[in-house]
Amino acid sequence: MKLSNKTVDRIATAVFYFFAFLIIVLLAGLIGFILFRGIGHLSFDFLTSPPETFKTGGGIGPQLFNSLFLLVLTMLITVPLGIGAGIYMAEYSKPGKFTDFIRLVVEVLSSFPSIVVGLFGLLVFVNYFDLEFSLLAGALALTVFNLPLMVRITEQGIRGVPREQKEAGLALGLTRWKTITKVMLPVALPTILTGTILAAGRVFGEAAALLFTAGMSSPRLDFTDWNPFSPVSPLNPLRPAETLAVHIWKINSEGIAPDAAQIAAGASAVLIITVLLFNLGSRWLGRYLYRKLTASR
């Protein structure tokens, strides 16, 4: 039997719609389930108070703070490095063995399983460089797989800038560097920022790479002590820090508080909401910046 093109087209369309529908249902179901289980547990108190080991009523305050602080630390390291390397790859690197090699390294690094990155962090940052379980070691481990992503995002953003824009800059007598920073980067910025926020979402939800680097415990934090060198200060980058994602893993596997299940559900809801916010935020910011930078109303 020979099907007419029209029939084939219709069947193919139906199949694609079916898969698209399936993915949406799956996503909605997953998010809905996690939110449904956890959202009843959310309260201001839950988000700000410290966890309890044996009693009910513990919160996730320090973990939430740790996650955010670790994110900031990681981004402080990866954004400048990643943008610099991305610019190099897009504009300065000559096609050849060396460039291909860098590209290979970037690809391999970004596809490493995060538990392996965590073990690498344990060996190198925690043990060899003697950082012990610390935010800094965690941030460095996250850098290992976030940096390649940042490089790729920047490179793609810069390469996406139309050649006419670059030539317009050069033809005005701008140096190559000024053309890159003042003409091409602004055009690429929405792409780069969107990608960066998506990467941030990934960092925020990461657990495996942090188990053996940032650690699975936090010291009692004194939220009135903002001296980054004090051991009980939340800002001390050399203290161990359990993040939200690690906390969920931990109470799920070894939590003994009576309300451990609810706490895990609540914390999962917080995690998912935050990651969703990162995703939506990146879209919104990308659109906003594009409109703003192009001054188009």
Binding site: A168, L170, L174, P186, T294, A295, R297
Partner: protein, 251 residues
């Protein structure tokens, strides 16, 4: 008439491909020189050697001498940025920056170090007037350049180039993406601009060359076949290939 640019024994290779063959051309000051010839004959390539935009092409090799006011622009002590400030360029597709009209024109001067607001205002107005765009946009300076029509965008690009005060303006088929009315406006503008600037333009349109240029150079297959006063070249060409081309027998 004194020449502002003198090109001699110019050869350009893209890798193995010999794109410009032993070319010689004088460009007199404050005139319009037009390049005509069939597609792929090397007009853009030649134009882009005049402000060293071909430097960007990997594997390009350029020999010979290209002088601006007697200075070889390919010598080691030439500062490419200074050269490109003196030899501005307008492209085939209007390519304004995705910024406001004001910022587009002020871009060059700002990045070359002019901070003073009053001075920038003055430069922007003068450049927009120079590009015959001021009357149309003086109340919209903060609007996006992308909201302008194609013809206005192209005149904005001319204004942007004028703002860094060049001596020579290169235009590569600057009207080919525009409608006839915008094209006529730019042609008129070019005739106006030659009072202060030297203009070199590539055009596919022989009538345009005849209408606006003082000198015309005919290119064919990487060779510069004939250069002469426009009137003379169109009425009485020396080379039979030129005659074939302008009478429409090929190309």
């Amino acid at each position: 008439m004194t020449s502002i640019m003198e090109i001699e024994r110019l050869n350009l290779h893209y890798g193995e491909f010999h794109a410009l063959k032993n070319m010689k051309l004088d460009i007199p000051k404050q005139t319009v020189t037009a390049f005509i010839g069939p597609s792929g004959c090397g007009k853009s390539t030649f134009l882009r050697t005049l402000n060293r935009m071909n430097d960007l092409v990997p594997g390009v090799q350029i020999d010979g001498s290209v002088k601006l006011d007697g200075q070889d622009i390919y010598s080691d002590d030439t500062d490419v940025e200074t050269l490109r400030k003196r030899v501005g360029m307008v492209f085939q597709q209007p390519n304004p920056f995705p910024k406001s009209i004001f910022d587009n024109v002020a871009y060059g001067p700002r990045l070359h170090g002019i901070k003073d607001k009053a001075r920038l205002n003055e430069i922007v107005e003068r450049s927009l007037r120079g590009a015959s765009l001021w009357e149309e946009v003086k109340d919209l300076l903060n609007k996006s350049a992308l909201s302008l029509s194609g013809g206005q965008q192209q005149r904005l690009c001319i204004a942007r180039a004028l703002a860094v005060e060049p001596d020579v303006l290169l235009m590569d088929e600057a009207t080919s993406a525009l409608d006839p009315i915008s094209t006529l406006k730019i042609e008129e503008l070019v005739r106006e601009l030659k009072k202060d600037y030297t203009i070199v333009m590539v055009t596919h349109n022989m009538h345009q060359a005849a209408r606006v240029s003082d000198r015309t150079a005919f290119f064919l297959n990487g060779e510069l076949v004939e250069t002469d006063d426009t009137e003379k070249l169109f009425s009485n060409p020396v080379d039979s290939r030129t005659e074939d081309y302008i009478t429409g027998r090929f190309g």
